[in-house]
Symmetry: C2
Subunit: 181 residues, 2 copies
C-alpha cells in the first residue's frame, strides 16, 4: 500500500525568531489534495549524564508553552552546521557545567511527527568532571543529581512527564540492563 504524500506547493507562512511555519499543498495517495501545516526545526540533542556515583545530572526548568516547571534531562537545539556530538557537549557544559570523557550515542527519536520535523539525538555521557555552568541569556534552570531508579519511579508517578526525558530515561535503563554490547 502506497502511503506517500507528495508536495504540490510549499509556502512559508510564519518566520519568527525561532519558529518557522510552513503550509503545503500535497497530493494524497488517492490522487486528491490536502493541506499540511508544520514547523521546521534544526533538531536537538539530549544527554543522559551519568556520574561515577550512579546519579544522573537532571534539571528543573520552567517551560513557558505548558506554563509549568519540568524535571528534565539536559538538552538543547543544534546550532547551524554543528555536529550533534558537539551540540551535546556544548549544551551539557553550558547548562550543567559538566564535561564528559566518554560519549555514547544511544538513539534518535522524532519529537512530534504530526506537525514538526524535529529529531532528538540521545547520548550517554560518562566520566563527568564539573567545570563552570554558562547559561544562555534568558535561560534559568536548577541542576541536581538523581539516581536512575528514582527517575524511573518519578516517570511512574507522573513527576517526570516530558516526552524527551521519558524516552531518554527509559532507553538508558534498557541500555544499562539489556542492550549494552
Amino acid at each position: 500500500m502506497d502511503l506517500e504524500e507528495t508536495c504540490i506547493e510549499s509556502k512559508s507562512v510564519y518566520q519568527g525568531g525561532f519558529l518557522h511555519v510552513h503550509c503545503d499543498s500535497v497530493l494524497l495517495p488517492d490522487g486528491q489534495s490536502a493541506v499540511r501545516e508544520y514547523i521546521t526545526h534544526p533538531g536537538a540533542v539530549a544527554v543522559l549524564a551519568l556520574l561515577d556515583n550512579g546519579n544522573l545530572i537532571m534539571e528543573r526548568q520552567f517551560r513557558y508553552p505548558p506554563q509549568c516547571e519540568f524535571i528534565e534531562i539536559p538538552a538543547g537545539k543544534i546550532d547551524l552546521n554543528e555536529e550533534v556530538l558537539a551540540t551535546g557537549q556544548r549544551e551539557l557544559l553550558e547548562e550543567t557545567g559538566y564535561v564528559a570523557s566518554e560519549w555514547i550515542y544511544l538513539t534518535t527519536s522524532w519529537a512530534c511527527i504530526g506537525y514538526s520535523d524535529e529529531r532528538i539525538y540521545y547520548f550517554l555521557a560518562r566520566g563527568l568532571t564539573l567545570q563552570k555552568q554558562a547559561l544562555d541569556n534568558g535561560e534559568f534552570l536548577e541542576v541536581f543529581e538523581l539516581p536512575l531508579a528514582e527517575a524511573i519511579e518519578m516517570i511512574h508517578r507522573g513527576k517526570i512527564n516530558d516526552s524527551k526525558s521519558i524516552v531518554g530515561l527509559f532507553w538508558l535503563e534498557k541500555y544499562l540492563r539489556d542492550w549494552k554490547v
Copy 2:
C-alpha cells in the same frame, strides 16, 4: 530558586487550519524580558490496544513533516469539548476498526515542551472486537499486529522512532511487568 516566566503581552501571529502560533513577551525571573514563540494544541490521545492473543494493534503511516513512514500506536487529536476517553475510543475505532471493553488510563506526557502545549494521554485498551475502520478524509494508514516484545526490539533497532509510540510502548512494558496493581 524562582524559575517562573510571566506573560507581559501575548500575540497570535499565525492561525492556520490546524496550527495556532503565538508570540509572547515575557518577564524573566531576573526582571529582564524575552520573547517566547509557541503553538497551542488541543491535546491528543494514544492507545495501547492489546489483543487477547498478546499482540498490539499498530499502524504504518506516512507523516508529511518528517517526510517518511512511521510505525506508530493509534492516536489522534482531541475534538472540541471531547473527553479524553471518548477521543481514545473514537480514534481507535476510526483508525483501526476496533472497539475495546476495557480502558485503563496509563499516563500523560507533554509532547514538545520547548514550543508546544500539547499533552498526550495514554490508555491501555483490552477486550478488543473488530468492527469497521472509518478513516478521516485524507487519512491513509495500514493496520497490523505486533507482539510487544517485538515492538520493544524495534525501538532498540530504531525502527519505531516516534516519541509518542516509544513512550507508550515502554510504559506498557513497565505496566504489565512492574507497575500493575
